[in-house]
Symmetry: D2
Subunit: 288 residues, 4 copies
Amino acid sequence: MFSVMCLLTLSLSAQREQRSRIVSDTIFSRVLNTERAYTVYLPKSFNADKARKYPILYLLHGMTDTNSSWVEKGKMKPVIDRLIDRGEIDELIVVTPDAGGSDVNRQQNGYFDMQEWEYEKFFYTEFLPYIEETYRVIGDKQHRAIAGLSMGGGGSASYGQRHPDMFCAVYAMSAWFEAGKPDAERASADPNNKVNKLMKAAYENGCIRYVDEADDNRKKQLRSVAWYVDCGDDDFLFDLNIRFYQSMRRAGIPCQLRVKDGGHDWEYWHQALYDCLPFVNRYFNKVR
Amino acid sequence: MFSVMCLLTLSLSAQREQRSRIVSDTIFSRVLNTERAYTVYLPKSFNADKARKYPILYLLHGMTDTNSSWVEKGKMKPVIDRLIDRGEIDELIVVTPDAGGSDVNRQQNGYFDMQEWEYEKFFYTEFLPYIEETYRVIGDKQHRAIAGLSMGGGGSASYGQRHPDMFCAVYAMSAWFEAGKPDAERASADPNNKVNKLMKAAYENGCIRYVDEADDNRKKQLRSVAWYVDCGDDDFLFDLNIRFYQSMRRAGIPCQLRVKDGGHDWEYWHQALYDCLPFVNRYFNKVR
Amino acid sequence: MFSVMCLLTLSLSAQREQRSRIVSDTIFSRVLNTERAYTVYLPKSFNADKARKYPILYLLHGMTDTNSSWVEKGKMKPVIDRLIDRGEIDELIVVTPDAGGSDVNRQQNGYFDMQEWEYEKFFYTEFLPYIEETYRVIGDKQHRAIAGLSMGGGGSASYGQRHPDMFCAVYAMSAWFEAGKPDAERASADPNNKVNKLMKAAYENGCIRYVDEADDNRKKQLRSVAWYVDCGDDDFLFDLNIRFYQSMRRAGIPCQLRVKDGGHDWEYWHQALYDCLPFVNRYFNKVR
Amino acid sequence: MFSVMCLLTLSLSAQREQRSRIVSDTIFSRVLNTERAYTVYLPKSFNADKARKYPILYLLHGMTDTNSSWVEKGKMKPVIDRLIDRGEIDELIVVTPDAGGSDVNRQQNGYFDMQEWEYEKFFYTEFLPYIEETYRVIGDKQHRAIAGLSMGGGGSASYGQRHPDMFCAVYAMSAWFEAGKPDAERASADPNNKVNKLMKAAYENGCIRYVDEADDNRKKQLRSVAWYVDCGDDDFLFDLNIRFYQSMRRAGIPCQLRVKDGGHDWEYWHQALYDCLPFVNRYFNKVR
């Protein structure tokens, strides 16, 4: 018993010396004119090896969540730790920005530019440069991937589609790939309504249409990214996920698809990390 | 070294006492007016316990295969043995009938009745009763399941659809669920062509249309069977598999779907046994 | 977008009608002369079907945890829900009693009887009968299993060993199977020390010695229970787990062993539920 | 139906253009004074891209097998193909040399040097250089790994131990890590007996003792290799595998261990390839 306790104590203190960390912090955005939070995973060696640079995964949250959801609900830390410890993935940075939330007072939401809320401009001109400078990110396409769930799954796919020079891999979970065409009457009746704005942006950035309308040049660009679609057989977005995959296949763009048991929930996404992280890791540092 | 060899010898002789077996045999069919082969898996206790009766899985082969393919190409025996040994499934009988083959001289093929080749009549009035009598099968719906790959996947689904009182579970792998409507001109030009006949039968027994056209009574019957669709993301029958699943869901008939990595090949089906056998086993003996 | 939200709302309200629940409550123990907490999982049909009885899994916590740890840290609810939803396990009750905790003021700990703290007497004469009456548990060996982690892994194994007529299956995770012989001098110097008491009890109820000393009759009893040992390759209790397994094998008592990647942490135990629940479920209702 | 057949035909012809191959060939060994067979897997791009060089895995067979066993019994080709196709591993060469067999007339066996049969000398001075020249192998430690089953598991571990400058990773399956000390009397009574020679060599090259006797310098060398031990819970070599792992851990040499369900059989080793290949692939090209 004493030896058990000693072992426990020793192993805890050994871990304290050098261990991975979750940090939540904020950045002030001039584009959005507000403070924006983010949550970042820093690997074991981060503090000790001040010269080392890392690959990065942007891991996007869904519609009713925030930057801390992947840690708190998705329990991402022990999964990343374990995959690194067993050598299945290399040390990396994982960061989740805040793209809104369910709070009625938070009037903006989503990963796209909208009227008076240029989130995408913020992401590419402020957030990404700041993160990659601050946390010693290698900072090229071959060491940058993007993933996300639901609204963030659509966001990650759309970012990957429109910035194929920036991301080597996209992993979309239970993704909301596209919105239907907004009702013009309803939209004009309440143009400042947040949901109307989000719907309009999600329609305009529809990922399926983006593939269906791709010419040869765009297809070639899309082939420079590694794609993975992961969706449960009970997910209410199942049909959208299948349509995206079928469009990709028709366009001749290699894409993995997995349909596992489950619905639109955190247990599904927690498990999805076990496939997502090794997948993006395989493309880090690989010349395609 | 000697001890290693002794252990090897001992463990082999221990296994010899009571072990599972693969038997290939034939049955003469009056319906088809020919000898038909089949291959059957008999569990460890089969010979020792002469009074024991077993549940049964009918495991159908694909278009260019025969009754022995699941053993020779699918390597089904070690999978069944292992799942029984670890207690994940109960002892059962697994049988594969011969539904044709690639030989050009073998003029008939498939699981459906055709002109001058009433395979389905043979299956239900001769083959199934003979097997269940000969190999001590329990012989009711709650101890009888059906599965198959490709053409046999479609066959298993169609048998399950049209005999929901006979099978408690259907597991369709990479299934050819339905053929397109045959070209009338081509069909009439060569009415005795084997492929034309098979195509006609596969069209007439289309599994997707069977669900889409189901009234409430048929839906209720279909809900009395447990359904599982398993298809690789690179399978050329992928779209058909998705359509079947979507029809089932629209009709409100519970159905599992898994899309794993892979195509239309034996390695996929070998692995599928690890999901298929525990699935059907769960429904043996269960009152729904 | 609106349809997405509608679907979300509808699916949430549908779930509200009949859903599984986690309940935390207390029972007053005359044996221990104190209130003891417990946490119980009740399946979907529990409220609707007032006549139905269920199998039960006693799921024990570890040394520094309490009755709520399996829910809060182990995230057991979504795993149980999903396994039931996909039909992999049947509806069941899962209950975690409180066996102490890290609080220095809580002077007692563990699953064994100690001087002035007859926990085992409480468990078998008060807790188990109360739970099985209150939550409509079937209440025989063939519908009762026990599992646990670390100290609770040892607890579950010891309970299964000494009550083989009560449990059909034992699943021990990262189990503390045995304590070394206590130092007599230290123990007598501080006889009321909680850790000393616990160590003495853990030594006296050592699971490995219990197997090593088993005569034919005890072995026969132990064979009437299904055993499973699950321990990570980085677990500090690894050697103990191997020793237990080797003793079981030497004694000719069938036992499964799995060593997966990982250590002594909640992510390991969360994943272990995916093996534990189907394992115990297979033995519910099975005559051995 | 026609379209199904067309698709089948098209996909087959597409594969013909560029596909992976299994080649069996021989090399004449001056060291052994005999022709020795080998079997090699060549990836899809091998013929088309004549300038490309590849990493290599030496995959050793067991005591009663030959160079073709991994293809014929282990069904390694579809596993390698699939892992490459899904991008989980990079294209590589896999080769199995012939280390003897069950034939009574084949008087030599195993991976070690024996009197009048310097197999290891053959392997390092003839076989490896020939293979790496002939099949465009990159040819440094960071692109060379070794794995094997049973006698070949011990062989791969021993080769990795005594040539840590040559292999970046070792994956030992169901390995025969060590033989007991030979009985001197028996050995001297029949010094030319093949089994006696093999036993002596297996004792002298015992992998567990090699770790236990390691000084700091040797430990440092062993840490430059990535180690993985994979053994079924029903394997008759289970205890040896555990002892090797425990020795490695005591010596502070990182080593993965997995114990899955199963015994000493080809279904176990077929499945082990799904872990082995991604494991060694992760260490190709990685500076440690």
